[in-house]
């Protein structure tokens, strides 16, 4: 059988930003720096904030649970290293500004020791009951590692009100620069497959797809091979390369031609979408009983001296990682957590990474728009490019202008809340308007307004 690597599935809209993945896609995953100190954020993801289970001065073991919450939508945090709790203090957080973190001083940490667990050939997911899988996933503190960080247990746990039939494993990695999932798919293929099988078992889905963009033929090949030898009933689907193909709503509409209702979540139409890294983490948690304490982070970008993919403990500071990959170049002007389309720019590099950070990218002036008129907005031409690329079929320019002129009701009437903030509109705008920035602002203003003035 000849392997088909050309993607046929796609969604409406989207853009083709320069991929820039060649910086790191041939570099295997390496062990990270020998950290002296990690900061474990108590707020790592969507959902309730964890309460610390340790106090200042306590000794903690690697893998020890140090924070948890009773809420349904939550996941515990664990210490990645053995050491002493130095303090529990506010640390810079990418999304909410400052957040409580447990600072742990490492005690003789050796980065080369820890790696993904081995999956034996005789692995059989039927050895584990669905409840056991869900419980392990919850105990291991696994959250979606693609970006949003929704607690995985909540996703895969069977819900009688929303029966699930399809499991989609998201290996698209549509954001430019990032290669952590790609490397994972090449190097830890079996772990991923094992995780997929476990997730399928837990969620009771009948169909399982692994979706990979067709600009990663090697990954598609590797996955196919592994599926043939190891995983029955799993289908590897090449998908057209387009941003934001990795968004779960886009992926579902591309693959199944089904649409997640606006403001809803995939389980509403019986679909579970998991990131490949999450799948690997599930395998680790269930098979080797290891909590989610390490992840692969791509440190890349033209502003970094030696880009690479590193397997690092969660809580490592950005500065340390950048330092480990050779430090920032003189002309680096922006450091981003996440991809260049949706990631968050940071200036405070002491920030510890969280479970959801897949990449640290340092860009130079050239990448962030070194052209003549960069940084200067010109008026909106109503050229309609943003409408064409909008994957959610919205009218971004109208929403953005309504927000800009403080007409929130107009913005709401044009479905501001359906925006997924993929940034495609800002990317194509010839007038350099921060369309998605305005829309995000508008969402916040609207939420504020609703909170302030109850009906």
């Amino acid at each position: 059988m000849k392997l088909e690597t050309k993607g046929r599935f796609s969604f409406r809209g989207g853009v083709h930003p320069p991929e820039s993945k060649s910086l790191t896609d041939e570099i295997p995953i390496q062990p990270g720096p020998a950290v002296k100190e990690v900061g474990i954020m108590l707020s790592q993801h969507i959902g309730a904030v964890c309460q610390p289970l340790v106090r200042k001065g306590n000794m903690v073991q690697a893998g020890q649970k140090i924070g948890d919450s009773d809420a349904f939508v939550s996941a515990p945090v664990h210490s990645p290293i053995t050491g002493k709790v130095k303090e529990i203090a506010l640390r810079s957080h990418a999304i909410i500004g400052r957040s409580k973190a447990i600072i742990i001083e490492a005690y003789d940490y050796n980065p080369t020791k820890r790696s993904y667990c081995k999956i034996d050939d005789d692995f059989d997911e039927n050895n584990y009951s669905a409840e056991k899988i869900c419980d392990s996933v919850r105990q291991a503190g696994i959250v979606g590692m693609g970006g949003a960080g929704f607690p995985t247990r909540v996703k895969i746990e069977p819900n009688p009100r929303l029966p699930k039939d399809t499991l989609i494993i998201n290996g698209c990695e549509c954001e430019p620069y990032i290669t952590c999932d790609y490397r994972l798919m090449l190097e830890y293929t079996r772990q991923i497959i094992a995780g997929v099988k476990l997730a399928r078992k837990a969620s009771g889905c009948s169909r399982t797809f692994i979706c990979i963009e067709d600009n990663k033929p090697k990954a598609i090949e590797a996955m196919n091979e592994a599926v043939e030898s190891f995983g029955g009933g799993i289908q590897v689907v090449p998908i057209k390369t387009k941003y934001p193909q990795g968004g779960e709503r886009q992926l579902i509409s591309a693959l199944l031609k089904r649409y997640v209702p606006t403001g809803g979540i995939p389980p509403m139409i019986g679909v579970v979408v998991l990131n490949v890294a999450t799948a690997a983490a599930i395998a680790e948690a269930v098979v080797a009983d290891l909590p989610l304490t390490h992840r692969v982070v791509t440190v890349t970008g033209e502003g970094v001296a030696r880009p690479g993919n590193f397997y690092v403990p969660i809580g490592t500071s950005v500065a340390e990682l950048i330092q480990f990959s050779g430090g920032l170049k003189e002309d680096a002007v922006r450091v981003i957590l996440g991809g260049p389309m949706m990631g968050i720019a940071i200036a405070d590099l002491t920030k510890p990474i969280t479970k959801t950070v897949g990449a640290i990218i340092a860009l130079t002036e050239k990448q962030i728009g070194g052209a003549k008129f960069a940084g200067r907005q010109t008026p909106c031409l109503r050229c309609g490019r943003c409408l064409e690329v909008c994957p959610e079929n919205l009218n971004p320019t109208k929403i953005a202008h309504a927000v800009k002129h403080n007409l929130l009701d107009v913005a709401e009437n044009n479905y501001i809340n359906a925006c997924i903030e993929c940034g495609s509109c800002s990317y194509v705008c010839p007038a350099n308007i921060e369309v998605s920035g305005h829309i995000r602002t508008g969402k916040m203003l609207l939420a504020r307004q609703k909170k302030k003035i109850p009906d």
Binding site: A89, S92, I96, R98, I346, A347, D348, G437, H438, M444
Partner: protein, 293 residues
Amino acid sequence: MILADIYQLWSSAWPAGLTMLGLGSGFAVVLLIASIKLKVEIDPKIEQIHGALPNVDCGACGFAGCGQYAKAVSENPEFLGKCAPGGPETASKIALILNLQISDSGPPERPIVHCRANTADKTLYGKYKGIESCTAANSLANVQACKFGCLGFGDCTRACQFDALEMVDGLATVNYEKCTGCGACSRACPRNLIEMVPFAHEHMMTVACSNKETGKTARSMCKVGCIGCGLCAKKADTFSIEENLAHLDYKKYQPTEDTETAINKCPTCVIIYVGKSAPPPRQPAKKTAAAKT
């Protein structure tokens, strides 16, 4: 002769006069009956406002007639000055009608900005190059070190209808002469820095900081941030310390010697006076020295 003229005029004029008489009385009857039979009960406040309006139904306010305008004003005082025929006179009358309901509950509320850091006082991180709006900037963690302080992009100044706020060197500053206490700025601030407090006195004492960091971190972030040392709480009992931050109970606040001591003892000078004719805030002694190094 004159009599004949008058007679002639009369003879030509009486039909017109009678027609108008009939028309006038007819409408008078119909409208009177209608006004009694078809009366609809409406909110007395709206009726009061309606009475104060010119009742020209000119539409200059953008609403469909005076009745609609009265209703709109009673619900949202922002539309106060829209009546062109009535002018400021009517506006003040309506304000009176509306205020009668509000002003019983103590002194008027005025906004207080809980931050006093100018651009020079703050520790800044990278340059912000995005949308000029606090809400947008607030979504990015690293516009400035202090997560709690004024961002200085002026969401509040834009929200203010009365031009009563301005950005002075990156800090929102209230002009209490112009302020009407509508609270729009308080609603606009994404960091909830602006609090509406009862302004019982000409000028109020306030803790001009919202930083809940520990003293050391706060000091590293801002030259005029509250370090939670508790000196003020020791001096005056209207002060308290919660989460590394001094609080002042504005409802209990009375200018006394104790509060005066507190303001003078504060090591980082975060306790200041605001309001009409407020004295200029104390400057931290180290500021100039620190700026040099």
